[in-house]
Subunit: 291 residues, 2 copies
């Protein structure tokens, strides 16, 4: 059973599951696990790891249109180094502070592989689900795409300054403020952690619709520095994922007012259609990052 | 740096940390990680694993005197087997239902070692800390001690029926109802997950007091079936830990009224004193389960 099938099974059994976060009495809660081999390339500092791991859960809170309130983490490692642990806590605390939440601690565990499990909480007066997109709505994405994919290339390259830049790119700002501005106005929303293409397919499945996306996508300029060619650029920008931007649908007539209230760039990349997920008229494959 | 030192560092840096759960605006949140090698002996079913992992976090909520509301878990395994995952979700859901909380789902992750990260939430109008014990208070423990240690012996022995009994013993009921009845009346409380001895030392340190404990301790009868001798019986009952009972201090004059409201047995095992942790007048070592 692959992970998507397994997640579907969870969604079928648990009424609160199946979105970026579970909703319970006006509160959202979401949990995630990241680990060394798949999520923290060689060169990732513990400060960046703390920021990114907690940020991933805060991004799920943002994707519900919720106000992030608190986060906790389990830090599991083969051994506890004081400086590394302090750096992790600093990164975790600062990403919380960046979105107005509080990092309230967590637990430690011994584990062969460095592993972090994070949970974030938020208050949602109007939680935005994945299921409300309607044909005719605009489909939009916050910020730029491809930063994490580009970071991975920089970690691999490891030239002068590459590791530091890669760490910078890895420390994304969760889009909590944008999510709040979109609450009550976006018809459907999720984060792009699985990549834009897969996110669109997931929104399409949850909403029973399709998407007609048009280039150019808001791919980050850093991708041009590391991409081998145009195909590779699209791979990093639309499929790689781990970018933690918001992908949302907004009624066309509300778009300009929403844009004015969202402090980060909100790019219209296309429209909701009846069925099919396409880019420039061609099928956009349902593939991307599998966590 | 050992785990206790590292946890101390976390407590120093984070104002909300340092107790069984973090407290934030009348809510408690706690997170924990369990994994195959140290927490789930061979023979542990996925149903028991789901129950026990989520139960461990619900126990931390109980130890704050809070009302458990919800739990989430990350289920990380080398592969996802549908029946195993369904059993895990059933166990997680049923331990939540047993204490009036809701299991609202979580996430999946690929990991070489079966690993579960759980987070539980609760509402606390009067959170009970570890720090309020006063000389003269009675020190009490809920239920019986040594069940998890005995279960481990049964898992090891693996005779006819042993594995099933061990699984039964492993599925403890988190003491949420007892914790609620103790809120506002216990002066200090924590759970016995690190073992009674270590729990007493931690309460002593947080409260700046000591404990004079007297035998007999409420050691579960199942311990007598597996213990080699009296020393081994005390080892399983007082040091092994992982029992998830509540260890609390209660003013002597309030004890009989509290007992009447706590549905589980609440055994007075001694008194709070100025300093030192003793059993029958002899020093009780500060050792136990290190997570």
């Amino acid at each position: 059973m692959d992970e998507r099938t397994a997640l579907g099974l969870l969604g079928d059994r648990l009424s609160a599951a199946g979105d970026d976060a579970a909703v319970l009495d006006g509160q959202v809660v979401t949990t995630d696990m990241l680990h060394d081999r798949t999520d923290f390339p060689d060169g990732t500092t513990r400060y960046t790891a703390g920021w990114r791991a907690v940020g991933a859960s805060l991004s799920d809170v943002a994707a519900m249109g919720a106000d992030a309130t608190a986060a906790v983490a389990v830090y599991a490692a083969p051994a506890f180094d004081e400086a590394e642990l302090a750096d992790f806590v600093d990164g975790a605390s600062e990403v919380c502070a960046a979105v107005g939440a509080e990092y309230v601690g967590g637990d430690l565990d011994h584990h062969d592989e460095f592993t972090v499990a994070t949970t974030a909480l938020g208050d949602a007066d109007e939680p935005v689900r994945r299921s409300g997109a309607e044909p005719g709505d605009a489909v939009c994405v916050t910020g730029t795409l491809g930063r994490s994919g580009a970071a991975l290339r920089l970690f691999d390259r490891g030239g002068p300054g590459d590791i530091e830049r890669a760490n910078d790119l890895f420390r994304f700002e969760p889009r909590v403020a944008a999510g709040r501005a979109l609450a009550g106005r976006a018809t459907a929303m999720m984060d792009s952690s699985d990549g834009l293409a897969r996110s669109l397919h997931q929104l399409a499945e949850a909403s029973g619709c399709g998407f007609a996306v048009e280039s150019p996508l808001p791919i980050d300029p850093v991708v041009d520095e590391v991409a081998a060619d145009a195909d590779d650029r699209l791979e990093l920008g639309a499929f790689f994922g781990e970018d933690f931007e918001l992908v949302c649908t907004v009624p066309e007539e509300a778009l300009s007012a929403v844009r004015a209230d969202v402090s980060v760039e909100l790019t219209r990349i296309g429209a909701v259609v009846e069925s099919g997920v396409t880019i420039d008229g061609e099928s956009l494959p349902d593939r991307g990052y599998t966590h």
